[in-house]
């Protein structure tokens, strides 16, 4: 009982609000709906037992969660909070799938980049070397790049590996199981 006015519970139950009323700290008289919904779903007696079994410092949180559950049950008499849990679990599953797809996509892009880098390193210099001279008899001919010319070009993939290694280092952050 705060001051002289009875708490919301004692008002609803029409009884004297004692000094040590277990409900008074959590069901002030200015919010009658809060106790009304909890009483409707759980019953005053059950709420009182639950609060008395808890240490004082945990009772406020317990009341908040009871109010939440009672409101959920009032809104959805069939599923109550379980409807919200089911919906959220579904969202977690969907996000997990999207994460898996995104991770696969990033891997593909990185592999593509590595291949392009390797290809660019192998072929770019050869394009410059295509200024070919005619043979000794002066005939104009089309020449393919000769094998000995290819052997002079080495690819440099050191930069391509940097991105993949940093992804591998971070991949353990994305790989853990999300749903308990």
């Amino acid at each position: 009982m705060v001051g002289n006015s009875p708490c919301a519970s004692c008002k609803l139950l029409r009884r004297r609000c004692a000094k040590d009323c277990v409900f008074a700290p959590y069901f002030p008289s200015d919010d009658p709906h809060k106790f009304a919904i909890v009483h409707k779903v759980f019953g005053a007696s059950n709420v009182s037992k639950m609060l008395q079994e808890l240490p004082v410092q945990q009772r406020a949180d317990a009341v908040s969660s009871l109010v939440y559950e009672a409101n959920a049950r009032a809104r959805d008499p069939v599923y109550g909070c379980v409807g919200a849990i089911s919906y959220l679990q579904n969202q977690v599953s969907q996000l997990q799938m999207q994460l898996a797809v995104a991770q696969a996509e990033i891997l593909c892009i990185q592999m593509q980049q590595e291949q392009q880098a390797a290809l660019a390193a192998a072929t770019a210099p050869s394009l410059v070397q295509l200024q070919l001279e005619p043979d000794d008899d002066g005939d104009e001919k089309s020449y393919f790049l000769q094998p000995h010319q290819l052997l002079n070009f080495t690819s440099n993939n050191s930069n391509a590996n940097v991105i993949y290694d940093s992804f591998k280092k971070e991949s353990h952050l994305y790989g853990h199981d999300m749903v308990s």
Partner: protein, 151 residues
């Protein structure tokens, strides 16, 4: 009568009538189910909740009441609200990771596009040397036409 009572009537030590509201949903082979529900909600409240629902929805309601009672007994402070909080956190974390990966994909795709464009430009710059001049004539001392390489 003692035989054939549902778990609720056994727990409440009363006769189980033919129209007992609890008997379809609290069979005698699972006494814990009603015990949990009774501890948290009370038999009277559970009976009221079930009676206010159409018969077709009562089984699901009894299941959800049992689930919530079970969560509340396991966690007397937060009950199933604790699980909701955890799920919200998981969704937040997963969304954050997804946004981060999608930003990385966008950045990598931009890099790939720029690189592809510059490679294409490089090839075009070199390849243009093979094209004939405006009169369709190749300079014999310059690059050879490669267009027939792929015939």
């Amino acid at each position: 009568m003692n035989s054939g009572r549902c778990a609720a009537c056994k727990h409440l030590r009363r006769r189980c009538l033919s129209d007992c509201i609890f008997s379809p949903y609290f069979p005698p082979n699972n006494p814990r189910r009603f015990a949990y529900v009774h501890k948290i909600y009370g038999a009277s409240n559970v009976g009221k909740i079930l009676k206010d629902l159409p018969v077709s929805r009562r089984a699901e309601a009894a299941d959800s009441l049992y689930y919530e009672a079970y969560c509340r007994i396991k966690d007397p402070v937060y009950g199933c609200v604790g699980l909701i909080t955890i799920l919200h956190q998981q969704i937040y974390n997963a969304q954050w990771q997804l946004d981060r990966i999608q930003a990385e994909i966008a950045a990598l795709s931009t890099t790939t596009d720029h690189r592809s464009q510059s490679e294409v430009q490089q090839v075009e710059n070199v390849g243009s040397s093979f094209l004939p001049d405006q009169n369709g004539v190749h300079d014999s001392n310059s690059f050879y036409d490669i267009s027939n390489w792929f015939d």
